[in-house]
Amino acid sequence: MSTFLRVFHFYLLLGLPFVLGFCVFDTFFGTQVPPALGLLALLIEVGVWHTLLWFSALFGFLLALLISGSYRDKTLTKFTAMRERDERELQVTGQAVRMAFLSTLALLLVLMFTSVFSVVVYELPLAEQSTGGTHELSMSLNLSLLEGASAKTEPQFSNAVGLTQLPLSNLGLLLLVLAWHVLSFRFFLRRQINPEAG
């Protein structure tokens, strides 16, 4: 890896705590400080520009991961701690990738199903309880592909209990899948190298 890339990665890593710290500061105190405050105003000005620069660098990093195969290979193999120094390690990595792919695929299928599936148990109005039952179970599938495209036609029941689609945000879902994929790969890699472990 070239010196430039090493410095670039080092900057991204080292700059992260400063950016997070600045974001926390901005949340609590804001960055609109009168210039009369001198050094503090200068520090905030530097913080703003640094945050802008850091996010630009992050954007460049993510774009490079997408468009450059060799950069992606160098960076992500390091990030996932892949070891491919000889044919056995290549084989072990291949098997771990296969199993991580299949387990992630299974997880994605479960998440996809739970994201469209709703189940609600609700109490029937007194007028409709003549048949003996007091509660009703309602199941539905929401098959919309675009966010907010589906019309909310579900009736509002009183005393309703249930699970209405996946209680996770888009970011939460992506983080879950990302963490699962990387961690399961690491798990399988360790198990392949040492079958007695885990």
Binding site: R85, D86, E87, R88, E89, Q91, M99, S103, A106, L107, S184, F187, F188, R191, Q192, I193, P195
Partner: protein
């Protein structure tokens, strides 16, 4: 959760044994020296000696050349 981390077991039909550990001991060569000599890691030499990894044909030839022997005299096959 655990079933999501299932690992299939391979069922080999042949058992491949080798005399690498013996040859190494005869020549007083360490695993590290052998690994460097044929361009693999020491972990791979350990795995081959234990029989938990069968080398490729290319690596088998490299091992044979390193010890100055035929492949057949280093590796032998027996049914399970």
């Amino acid at each position: 959760m655990y079933s999501l981390l299932y690992m299939p077991k391979l069922n080999p039909t042949l058992k491949i044994t080798n005399t690498i550990a013996l040859l190494r001991a005869e020549r007083k060569i360490t695993q590290q020296d052998l690994a460097q000599g044929i361009g693999v890691t020491r972990a791979t030499i350990i795995a081959i000696e234990k029989g938990s990894y069968n080398p490729s044909l290319e690596l088998a030839f490299r091992l044979a050349r390193f010890f100055g022997q035929d492949i057949q005299s280093i590796f032998s096959v027996e049914p399970l």
